[in-house]
Amino acid sequence: MSSTPPSPSLSTTTQNPPTPKPSSPPVPFLPSQAARIYSFAHPFLLLGLLGLRFDKLVADPVTELLNDLPFLALLQVGYVMTCLPPAGSGYAHGHGHSHKAVGETGGSGDSAGEEKRKTNPVVRAGKAGYRRRQQKGEAGGFSVKLIPALLSLTLIFLLATPVLSILLVLFGAPLTTHNFETVLCAAHMAVLSTTALIYVHGVDGAVWKEVWGIARPSDGVWGGALGTCVGAWFGAVPIPLDWDRPWQAYPITILTGAYIGFAVGSLIGRASFLYGKRIEFTPEELGIEKKVD
């Protein structure tokens, strides 16, 4: 609980007294053998597939991105249904690796927050149905998993893709040309980053506020999502080089960066030295001392 932070900018949530209670604790992967193995294999599988289709992607990005999108969506849905607890199942907040989650982030504030959420129907309205079914049967009910998966796919294409397209343009993607590339790149990034987030957290407003503010505690799901975006940002680095390679064209490096970022993020985000930690600011940086004075 009070372990020293490995990186100067990260620390456990409980070390910072003024931080408000977390809306939702980090989510561990399901404890089953299959989930544990596949959660490690999935990022490598995606990278392998990217490597396999890379030449086609360079030759004709739009067609290739469009054709690959359904397969990527299927793979991601398969991944979340195998390895992660669906929204409202209660798994995310109690069972599974709960001992670890509590050990890392527990404390009075944390458990109080959890309690509050469980008793607060406003925050998690709409998922009461899942929970009731969940309480009746075992976590493995297929429909219990399928509905959040379909929900996440719908939201990805309706909300996450437009938002990420706008962000891509703000971060420097061309606006007057390459619009198909931008939207398709955003769609791939959305499937990579948001499928698991929606599947696990549903439409919990507090969680999505934290996502918007990059304030989620680290876990495999959030690591993958943040990794996708940071990877895409670093993907812009090789573009200005004068190597005259066809793969330097937009959006190939951005997308490759996003895939690599997703793989690295989901593997590192779940690692015990990061699990449950979030980006932390010194009191001076948040202007707390200033207000006291």
């Binding site: 408000p20 420097g172 004068d242 940086e285 202007g287």
Partner: protein, 625 residues
């Protein structure tokens, strides 16, 4: 040429300045790009029997017939034209073309002229050697000789052969002369890239020491403002590493645009964290989340800043790789004079309004401010009318462009007006300090005058940028940033806007169009100052704006700001020096790395010391009064 009789003895030289790679591009160091073609075409060659087979088989090595040094073209053409060889030439006559002369003495004369000229350059470089067989007897039989001694011996051999020229066949003398010239050429090419490594390393050590001093001064802020300082250090390290790659030096603007998006992302996270703490405190007291309008505006401000930055980024396409691609200033606005002039007028009007409001309760100031802005605008219209009339037709501003006052006097009028307004501000300031009843004019009045001056020194297509700057300024102002964050934002903005104005790390991109404003006869200092101001208008504006963004900093805060800026400047200076030293034999040392070094000198000597440090020190001393 074959058909016309008067062209029978003409020579057609086809000379490429570069080759190309498989994609058809050039500028790299591949064999295809660095092997340009050289063709000598003349009907004379047929009569002399000097034909070469053509076409030849394609070779991947790009070496056809023979490789000729680029420097050899000059003495060859001089010889063929019968004119003297240029003084500092380092080339050798191309031996194949000697067959243009039938007589041996003529050929020897050509080669001897070439050799004597080369000998003079060698003598000038090595004054210790007399190249006179009488003054110091030749010691050419011993085995070990330095480069110059070798040349000396070859020259003595040439002289010896020339003295006994009656008995010796001409080809032998020709060979000896060519041998000498080639040896002299090799020696001189190696000395022209003979760097004084001791001095280079000394400079590196001094800049390294400066980095050390400035980083110890920033050490305390690292603990206090961890994330922001880590961001600054990482971006400075990335910038330093970038200086070793020629394409990143050419595309430096991409780095600043990229790192600025990262900084916006950081500010977004930081503001969100602060906001959520603020909200949680509130919810603790009111038991309810409440989203007020200002808090939403605050949360959206990094996004708004990103939109402004995205427009800036596309304003002037610069660098090498994407230059000439459509942008706002050169593609969009140039073809739409009405849009351009509406934006320009809007910027002038906005500046005028802010100028008027800067010193309240003074009618004289208001009148003067409006007049000076009007004069500045009329000057801009007239300047564009004479400098780039293509931005002008179909516009209804032509009646202003017909004023019969010379541009020089108009510019002097603008500068004089701005100077008068500054004097006015200083007088009011003096009066205010003597009688405590009056209010001091705020720094913003000076800043607005500076804005007007910078607008005058900017190209018309860049004038609307100042309106974007102003929007960015208000957005940043509303974010209520920490001192260190303002410093980093201003640092990134200074570099970013330099490139947004169309600047790059190529010497050719220096904009001289506004450097002669108000100058009748050439003056190095005045033109230099005006040139700096017109090319660094964006950085100067942001250096000044950052003073406004930090209300009443303490002396310690000022020191930290200067230390952080100095850390960045010294670290980038050191990395550029290290890159130039390490890559001194690189193909692009004179075209990419050395220009970058000159730009870095301008950034650190003028922009850092004269603008950032000096203005900070001046404000500090004013405050103490």
């Amino acid at each position: 040429m074959e058909r016309e009789s008067h062209l029978q003895s003409s020579l057609f030289v086809l000379c490429g300045d570069h080759g190309m790679n498989d994609a058809g591009n050039h500028g790299g160091s591949s064999i295809g790009e660095t092997s340009p073609a050289l063709l000598f075409i003349s009907p004379k060659f047929q009569t002399k029997g000097m034909q070469r087979e053509s076409p030849v088989q394609a070779a991947s090595s790009m070496q056809y017939y023979r490789t000729v040094e680029q420097a050899d073209i000059t003495p060859t053409l001089s010889g063929l034209l019968g004119i003297p060889i240029p003084l500092n030439n380092l080339g050798v006559f191309i031996p194949e073309l000697l067959s243009m002369w039938d007589h041996g003495p003529q050929r020897i004369h050509i080669l001897l002229e070439n050799a004597k000229q080369l000998l003079n350059t060698v003598k000038a470089t090595f004054p210790g050697y007399a190249f006179d067989p009488k003054s110091n007897p030749p010691d050419c039989d011993s085995g070990v000789r330095t480069g110059v001694e070798e040349i000396q011996c070859t020259w003595f051999r040439v002289l010896e052969l020339l003295q006994r020229s009656e008995g010796i066949a001409h080809p032998k003398i020709e060979l000896a002369l060519l041998h000498f010239s080639k040896a002299a050429q090799n020696l001189m090419s190696s000395t022209s890239s003979n760097y004084d490594l001791t001095k280079l390393n000394l400079g590196l050590c001094i800049s390294g020491f400066a980095v050390l001093i400035s980083s110890t001064a920033t050490y305390r802020t690292v603990l206090k403002f961890r994330n922001a300082t880590v961001f600054l250090i990482l971006s400075t390290l990335g910038y330093g590493a970038m200086m070793f790659a020629s394409s990143y030096v050419e595309e430096e603007q991409q780095f600043w645009y990229w790192i600025f998006t990262g900084w916006m992302f950081y500010l977004h996270i930081r503001l969100f964290n602060k906001q959520s703490i603020f909200l949680s405190c509130e919810s603790a007291s009111k038991k309810r989340y409440r989203l007020s309008a200002p808090s939403i505006a605050k949360a959206a401000s990094p996004a708004c800043l990103s939109i402004c930055q995205r427009i800036l980024r596309r304003w002037n396409q610069t660098g090498q790789k994407f230059t000439g691609e459509p942008d706002i200033a050169r593609t969009f606005l140039s073809k739409r004079p009405i849009a351009l002039w509406s934006l320009v007028i809007l910027t002038y009007a906005d500046t005028c309004l802010h100028l008027v409001l800067a010193v309240p309760s003074s009618r004289a100031w208001r009148l003067a401010a409006v007049t000076v802005t009007m004069v500045a605008f009329i000057f801009k219209v007239n300047f564009v009318a004479s400098d780039s009339p293509e931005l002008f037709h179909t516009s209804s501003l032509e009646w202003i462009g017909n004023i019969n006052v010379s541009l020089v006097s108009q510019a002097r009028l603008v500068f004089g007006g701005i100077a008068l307004l500054i004097i006015f501000l200083i007088c009011v300031n003096k009066m205010a300090s003597s009688s405590h009843s009056r209010q001091r004019p705020p720094y913003i009045a000076f800043h607005e005058l500076l804005t007007l001056f910078l607008i005058t020194q900017s190209r018309a297509t860049n004038v609307p940028l100042f309106s974007i700057f102003r929007s960015q300024f208000y957005i940043i102002h509303s974010m209520d940033l920490m001192d260190i964050e303002v410093t980093i934002t201003s640092l990134l903005s200074q570099y970013m806007t330099f490139f947004a104005f169309g600047g790059s790390n190529a010497i050719s991109s220096v904009d001289l169009s506004s450097a002669y404003n108000g100058i009748g006869s050439y003056s190095v200092v005045l033109v230099g100052v005006l040139m700096y101001i017109s090319n660094w208008a964006g950085p100067i504006w942001w250096a000044s704006a950052s003073h406004l963004l930090r209300p009443n900093p303490t002396r310690g805060e000022r020191v930290v700001r200067i230390a952080l800026l100095t850390f960045h400047v010294t670290a980038s200076l050191m990395s550029v020096m290290a890159a130039c030293t390490a890559l001194r034999t690189h193909l692009f040392i004179w075209t990419v790395f050395s220009p970058k070094y000159l730009y870095t000198v301008a950034w650190s000597m003028i922009n850092h010391i004269a603008i950032n440090v000096f203005s900070e020190a001046a404000l500090q001393s004013l405050e103490r009064k």
